[in-house]
Symmetry: C2
Subunit: 337 residues, 2 copies
């Protein structure tokens, strides 16, 4: 089987699950008759917006810090962990480090919303500010790492993070054993590659479809098998701040190249908003734009054109961390669409 | 036991459950660590916003129409059912009648939102418009009843409706057998009285607390045991349109007089909005203002002053039918608070 050859293996995902299962939530799978009717398939929404900290990120972060803790011989002087992210991963790593009892530093771009920086501080992590660009945050992180000896936990490319996110795939296969396809929004690709390892190992016939903002170039890279993205790494112009990295990680790309379908769903801001509104209105669930992208992919012509033998479709509802006082359709209305 | 003496009996609620259980959803009970922390108790949210049609109302409506259907000897010429409500009960009765296969007429006030009237039409019911006042809608309903022979299904005072709503109490007692108190938003009182019958019959020590908009006068009426409300019946000035009736029904008041606690939680618009925002933000659940009222009651001084032996608190999240493009805190912001 292909999956066995990947840099993260099913055994790593299973080990991650052993490590984190007592702490994270086993999230439910939700159904919606209107989604089934509109797609002509059976849709299963894996509700990671109901996960602790409001997003899947706690799975990978917790797996990484628990593994560090296991491997530490002199735990009380461990230099701790560091990452760059004001968003879901930053909060998740801060929370994971707090649970495990490791020092934690989070690099956040200047101007990050106070609610996010407060949440990180609330978990007891140290905050360091940087200029808001993909390169500045890496530089700031390297500085902390050099000065303190802290271990860098990449938001998506750390092998233990990938394995941790993969636990969602194990759960989904228990909940929907005969799932035929899974839609996953991707940024760096940690979520998608982890789930792909778990699912393709255990159910090779299930297709993994990636969802991303326009300009992702992922389909082109998957088809050529090469990293065709421009450097330095760019942020995409999207309302879905949690999936704005253009480039996949090195590890995640290598995994997805083998395991994901070549067709990638690129979803506009308007489509993401429609996906969010569908989920708010029909399912009474609060989700963020990245999750809205995966939901909206269900209702595209591309989805409708997929083979009829794809009967059961899993959608990863990756998170619910949206500012409810600044929902995008209110902005949108005031801008006139 | 008190409950056994009420006009709706535990046996009626159990019979309702037999009737409707294959069709309605057994809704989950949600928990939220932040709610537990803030209240110092354990809170269990009974998620009726996840019920079919987005509110509890389908339970009572379905029980009523199924019982009519059972008792009909010549089913194919039954004149059907009628009610007045553009809101959750109107939609629920239309849906229930569609499921059961009975004709249905819904009286709606002129100017009702198209999304609501479309939903009613979508369930195959006939729409009749009336002037928007408590008395006009009764007159319009009486006219339909006289002309067609249709059976009036009151939104809250019909005994089979009360029994149907009571099935929530049976479920909650299975999910949280040692619940000490339940918070229930009330309008006409069908939901509250049905749940009170079920819970006080099976667990007399559990307290039933009512929640309503300001001006409800319910506490005063419960204390005197008299209907002290002015006539004709009035609508309260509240953002929670589904709980704007000032008067309780005659049957529901008789039940609640015996079974509910005398202290009533009166919640302002601002408090309801805070309850909604808490639920959106912390629990990722979309709920309507009436449900927000019950959630907000958790965080009041009155709640804090309740005896410490009230450890497990159930909150009935009655519905999620809010217009997500017109959330009240956006209106509120533009008005400056």
């Amino acid at each position: 089987m292909k999956a066995v050859m990947s840099i993260v293996k099913l055994a790593d995902v299973k080990a991650a699950r052993e490590r984190i299962s007592g702490i994270i939530k086993y999230t439910p799978v939700l159904q919606c008759s209107e989604a089934d009717r509109l797609t002509g398939r059976q849709v299963y929404f894996k509700a990671e917006h109901l996960q602790s900290t409001g997003a899947f990120k706690i799975r990978g972060a917790l797996n990484a810090v628990l593994k560090i803790k296991e491997q530490s011989h002199v735990q009380d002087i461990h230099p701790g962990v560091v990452t760059h992210s004001s968003g879901n991963h930053g909060q998740a790593l801060a929370r994971a480090a707090q649970v495990v009892g490791l020092p934690c530093t989070i690099i956040v771009p200047k101007g990050s919303p106070v609610c996010k920086t407060d949440a990180i501080k609330g978990y007891g992590a140290k905050l360091v500010e940087c200029y808001p660009s993909p390169t500045s945050r890496v530089e700031a992180m390297e500085k902390v790492r050099a000065e303190t000896g802290a271990v860098f936990i990449s938001p998506y490319d750390h092998l233990d993070v990938i394995a941790g996110q993969g636990t969602i795939g194990l759960e989904l296969l228990e909940q929907v054993p005969d799932v035929d396809a899974v839609l996953i929004a991707m940024s760096g690709g940690g979520l998608a590659s982890g789930i792909a390892v778990a699912i393709k190992s255990l159910r090779p016939s299930c297709r993994i479809y990636l969802v991303a903002p326009p300009g992702k170039m992922m389909e082109q890279c998957l088809r050529s098998g090469e990293r065709e993205w421009p450097n330095p790494p760019q942020f995409l112009d999207t309302i879905a701040e949690s999936i704005r990295m253009q480039q996949a990680g090195f590890n995640t790309f290598n995994i997805l190249k083998d395991l994901a379908e070549k067709e990638v769903f690129e979803m506009s801001n308007e489509e993401m908003i429609e996906g969010m509104k569908f989920t708010f209105h029909r399912m009474k669930q609060v989700i963020e734009a990245a999750a809205g992208a995966a939901v909206a992919a269900l209702f595209t012509d591309k989805m409708a054109s997929l083979p009829a033998d794809i009967k059961k479709v899993g959608v990863i509802v990756c998170g619910g961390n949206v500012d409810i006082t600044n929902l995008p359709w209110y902005d949108s209305f005031s801008k006139g669409y």
